[in-house]
């Protein structure tokens, strides 16, 4: 009951100091808002970049033929190394660490025709595992190349989203027949649109995939353009890579230490590197955030400090009337908590509104895709509000404690 009375009194007094209160609350809210927003954009950038990078595939290695740079067992350097279709089988047998593997052959300049429309695009020949390796995910009620297609050398085709758009527009494409250079192919799948910021020979949405066996039957390529594999676990990727090199070195007779004989695009390695870059960006953002926090903190501290000083006389009056130290301090604590709560909650609410506002604007284009997807971190939000509140509280608490420990006469004399 007594406590309740006290709080009611505190509340009444708070109401009397609206200007100072609202200033403090605005400072708190703004500090919280700026940091949360800043870090939300940082986190959003990180996630979108990662997602776009995964447009190429997640945790995969792409292997290209190369040219030897070291002599090996009597063979000179400068020999070209070409990968062959049967290498896929060889590696599957000999390297146990491989989870998925697919050959890839490609050819530019194919005319794809549907009805009266035609486009000139790249066609690739691949295995079913290519779907998972290179994120060639089919849209609903459509599919990628399957093992039966491979076995029967079926003439089926899986279209990139842009090709489908160009040939069919809004029309249903699955089940229709198109021509590749006058050879009819049945459309079985359309690729889901995806973000992709890493690629070779153009974005995947501009490519059309057919079964590897069908491709070989039509084009008869002697060599592979590349092969793609995914190790069973990321931690062992280096060992798997060494095994792949060892097996290929033995077959093609080059020095396993020769870095140029075959060419690796190791996205696992690359992702680790870009992870480090993003860690750097995060630290940078965090630093800016911390500096902002200090500025906001100083503002809050200043207001609370001045307020406590100005109320020394009031504290004196209350002490003369019989208020105990405990009462004076609990008033300041109550005030700081109130201000912290309202200010922090305001800042959090504001950042939620801003972030969801930006996310619903659905801005178009690559820059917007990458930048305009802020993600709020609850931890950072709460931490920020807490730190600011603590600063404000300490700034108010110490002058109040000083005033409460004065004898009432001195406090009363304070003007």
């Amino acid at each position: 009951m007594i406590r309740l009375n006290l709080f009611r009194l505190f509340y009444r007094e708070l109401r009397q100091q609206r200007k100072r209160m609202s200033l403090t609350i605005v400072a708190l809210a703004w500090g919280t808002f700026s940091i949360v927003i800043l870090l939300a954009f940082g986190e959003g950038l990180n996630r979108q970049m990662t997602k776009a990078f995964h447009g190429l595939g997640q945790g995969i290695c792409i292997v290209f033929g190369g040219q030897t740079s070291m002599p090996y067992r009597g063979l000179g350097k400068g020999r070209a190394i070409f990968l062959k279709p049967e290498d896929v089988e060889l590696l599957t047998e000999r390297v146990s660490g491989i989870e998925l593997i697919s050959p890839e052959n490609e050819r530019y300049g194919n005319t794809l025709t549907y009805g009266r429309k035609s486009v000139t695009k790249m066609v690739i020949g691949v295995s079913p595992s290519f779907e998972e390796l290179r994120t060639y995910y089919p849209e609903r009620s459509s599919r990628f190349v399957n093992p039966t297609d491979i076995d029967s050398k079926r003439r089926i085709i899986f279209l990139g989203a842009r090709i489908k758009e160009a040939l069919f527009g809004g029309e249903e494409a699955v089940g229709k027949t198109i021509l590749i250079n006058a050879i009819p192919f049945l459309v079985v799948g359309i690729m889901q649109d995806k973000m992709q910021n890493s690629m070779y020979n153009g974005p995947d949405v501009e490519k059309a995939a057919i079964p590897f066996t069908t491709y070989q039957a039509i084009y008869g390529d002697k060599y592979l353009d590349r092969l793609i594999y995914k190790p069973k676990d990321l931690a062992g990727s280096e060992a798997v890579k060494n095994d792949v090199i060892r097996v290929l070195a033995q077959k093609y007779k080059f020095d396993p230490k020769d870095k140029q004989a075959i060419d690796f695009w190791d996205t696992i390695e690359q992702e680790k590197l870009s992870g480090k870059i993003f860690l750097g960006i995060r630290i940078f953002m965090g630093l800016i955030g911390a500096l902002t926090l200090i500025v906001a903190g100083v503002g809050v501290a200043n207001i609370m400090y001045v307020s406590a000083r100005r109320r020394t006389k009031e504290i004196g009056i209350k002490m003369a009337l019989g208020a105990k130290k405990r009462y004076i301090l609990s008033q300041f604590i109550f005030e700081a908590l109130m201000i912290a709560f309202v200010g922090g909650a305001g800042g959090i609410l504001l950042s939620f509104l801003a972030v969801s506002g930006i996310n619903t604007m659905s801005l178009k284009g690559f820059v917007a895709d990458i930048l305009a997807h802020p993600v709020i971190s609850l931890n950072i939000m709460i931490l920020t509000a807490l730190i600011l509140s603590l600063i404000g509280f300490l700034a108010g608490f110490f002058p109040a404690r000083k005033a409460a420990s004065l004898n009432p006469v001195e406090a009363l004399r304070y003007e």
């Binding site: 009951m1 007594i2 009375n5 006290l6 009194l9 009444r12 007094e13 009397q16 100091q17 009031e314 004196g316 009056i317 209350k318 002490m319 003369a320 009337l321 019989g322 208020a323 105990k324 130290k325 405990r326 009462y327 004898n407 009432p408 006469v409 009363l412």
Partner: protein, 227 residues
């Protein structure tokens, strides 16, 4: 009611040291009306702060209702101020943002009185100082005399035996001063003990006993026969 033995109070240190009170011996009995007079700097306010447990003496013994005040903690002093002493200041010392009602209520909140009991008491006191109509005004909307009456009502909330007033009419015009004095006289007649610092010769005349201070010493202590 109170008894002081060889009370000293010094401010500052070294060469800047000021002796505000020197070896004061003073006893005030129940239901006395004491006027405390003297030129400025004579130590009247310091003496009153010590009587009122707002400050503690540098040396000497102070007994409040037989208890040694020096040995009290700041919380015990606060309790004495809250329950046994009522203060009236020259500059009123009202909380500027609180209404008349809230200002008067304050000592009861510190004491822990229930809201209902507080309300009854505040209205009774405001009636007594004829300010019931001003219960929801703020100090800035009141005249000096009204503010001082609020302060007196506040001093009376916890029914203290001792009322201490420091120049209660110092900031008031003659008419308001007379009203205030009238209230003090009533309080005295009701059995309160009053100690009033004043330059106002009229109040000094009303007092039953006048203590005159000069340079931290009691220069004159005269009990008047009010036959």
């Amino acid at each position: 009611m109170i008894k002081m033995e060889k009370i000293n109070k010094t401010y500052g240190k070294g060469s800047a040291q000021v002796e505000a009170l020197k070896e004061i011996d003073l006893e005030i009995k129940e239901n006395e009306f004491v006027g405390l007079i003297g030129p400025s700097g004579s130590g009247k306010s310091t003496l009153m702060h010590i009587i009122g447990c707002l400050d503690v003496p540098t040396s000497g013994q102070y007994f409040f209702e037989g208890e040694k005040v020096q040995e009290f903690s700041s919380n015990q002093l606060a309790e004495i101020r809250n329950k046994k002493i009522g203060f009236v200041f020259q500059n009123f010392n009202l909380l500027p943002y609180a209404t008349t009602f809230e200002n008067v209520e304050l000592p009861m909140i510190f004491k822990g009185v229930s809201a209902k009991a507080r309300r009854a008491k505040v209205m009774e006191l405001l009636d007594r100082v004829k300010l019931a109509a001003r219960a929801h005004h703020r100090p800035s909307e009141l005249s000096g005399g009204e503010m001082q009456r609020v302060a007196i009502a506040r001093a009376l909330t916890n029914d203290p035996r001792l009322i201490l007033a420091d120049e209660p009419t110092g900031n008031l015009d003659t008419k308001s001063g007379e009203e205030i004095l009238k209230i003090f006289e009533d309080l005295w007649n009701q059995g309160h003990t009053l100690v009033i610092i004043t330059h106002n010769p009229y109040i000094a005349e009303c007092a039953q006993r006048v203590v005159k201070l000069r340079d931290g010493l009691v220069e004159e202590d005269s009990v008047r026969n009010l036959g």
